[in-house]
């Protein structure tokens, strides 16, 4: 998903990742984020991606990527295999987000999750005008879920995750006031609050 072709969340995600971290990007697309993380943060980068064309694009960038859906991709990794597991702009497309977030916190120390806030005032305004959420139905875009900030925080609570930090953006500027209305993009960093029983 792009905002006028830009991915303002990528810069913010890169800023969150320390050098030489072990990073898994779920739904890594054509590998842009991973390639930048290798270049700017010298991370150990791994990716999971569903589309064959995207996987081949990743390999062309010199990345180590496995083709598969996010659920099976995650199940393959041992506990704590990564420092960071990233789910960038993909949460809205998951049928079952809870087990995925749970698994992210199993294979990684931290989960970085970015998504479009459905509570953003422009989105609410579109809804009020009866224009719906997401693209045109004929755009071919997969079905996406509308997720708001309180909804996401409830999800974090239900998987007993601790919210370590939140970054909120409208356009490429950080949001300070009225986040549930003002934020267009949210980036959450989660960790496991306590050992799962």
């Amino acid at each position: 998903m792009t905002l006028n072709g830009k991915r303002p969340d990528l810069d913010a995600i890169i800023a969150l990742i320390p050098p030489k971290a072990r990073v898994l990007d779920l739904g890594c697309g054509d590998g842009e984020l991973l390639a930048r993380l290798i270049h700017e943060r010298q991370v150990l980068a791994r990716g999971v991606e569903l589309s064959e064309a995207n996987v081949r694009a990743c390999i062309a960038r010199g990345l180590s990527v496995r083709q598969g859906n996010i659920e099976e991709g995650l199940a393959d990794y041992p506990d704590g295999a990564f420092d960071y597991v990233i789910l960038s702009q993909t949460l809205a497309y998951l049928d079952h987000p809870t087990p995925v977030v749970n698994e992210m916190l199993r294979v990684g120390q931290r989960a970085v999750i970015s998504f479009e806030n459905a509570g953003y005032w422009r989105t609410r305004w579109r809804m009020l005008r009866g224009q719906g959420i997401g693209g045109d139905l004929c755009s071919g875009e997969a079905r996406a879920r509308a997720i708001t900030l309180p909804q996401f925080e409830a999800l974090a609570a239900c998987v007993q995750a601790k919210i370590e930090s939140v970054r909120l953006f409208a356009g490429d500027k950080p949001v300070r006031a009225f986040p549930t209305w003002q934020a267009r993009i949210a980036i959450y960093v989660l960790s496991r609050a306590q050992a799962m029983v």
Binding site: R56, I59, G62, S64, V65, R66, Q67
Partner: protein
Amino acid sequence: MLVKTQYFHYDGEIQLQSGATLGPITLAYETYGQLNKDRSNAILICHAWSGDAHVAGRHSPDDPKPGWWDDAVGPGKAFDTDKYFVVCSNVIGGCGGSTGPSSINPKTGRPYGLSFPIVTIADMVEAQRLLTDHLGIERWLTVGGGSMGGMQALQWTVSYPARVRSAIVLAATARLSPQTIALNEVPRQAIYADPNWNNGDYYGKTPPNAGLAVARMIGHITFLSDASMREKFGRRLHNGSEGYGWRFDPEFEVERYLNYRGHSFTKRFDANSFLYLSKAMDYFDLSYGLPSLADAFRKVTAKFLVVSYTSDWLYPSWQSKELVRALLQNDIDVTYVEIDSNYGHDAFLLEVDRLAELTRDFLRRVESAH
């Protein structure tokens, strides 16, 4: 590209996985391209069930047919012989010039037949290791192959982890499924049922061609897919015939194809080798004697490119995914692609454009890593 088959002779014996020994050993092999100064550009291609050392090029200018994977091996191709030194050897147990059941047993002066010991994928790799030493190659840049060739590539990473920088595993598995064992057993039964087989003792007499042809026909069914058969043959009748002949001769294009393939195979392949190689695959299970498949890869350091094909029902994608999972459990660098193809198991030989791109990108990364 003109090439010549060469022969490596080893006078000693090797200990086989079964406990038996085999020796002396001859391996037929071919090489393409130039080994560089630091010997870091050597690639071993492992062939599948019916393959041989002649992977690419022609033996003479008027040779009607190039090697079995000429589309993928040569100047500027997936395995670029302008850049790499490519080696391919015929497996032991085979009939393409390496020691196998049709070779003369030096102890008796007669062909081995069924007195040839059972060989495994690990034994094939052990023989290739002797050739590797002979060629002065300390470490392969990559060992790659499809089907039984992919199994050898996997076995190399496990048997000699320090001597393989990467492996390219196409349309293969770390252990045969019961369905594939079943699809190997029926062809074997077809050979046993041919009276000319005579418990493997037919050299110098009429070989069991009827049994071997049926065996190969079954093989060809498993190499294709429902979709590729519909595309390639449909229900078309041979010779553009408009109506049925109301008799038992092969009439459908698909029947003619299988008959032709089955019978032409008997001219170039030995029935006993067919049996031994199928048995080697049935026994292939890297987790044999271990708690899990992941335990097989504990010492492995190679980088992997694993490729499966959506319509391959002989080595379906779930088997490659099982392999990928076992590798990831060991924190091994794995790239996995499932290529969307209708060609069935044969796709690894036919989808060379996409393979060329993957191989080039993958090898570039392997070469840049230390």
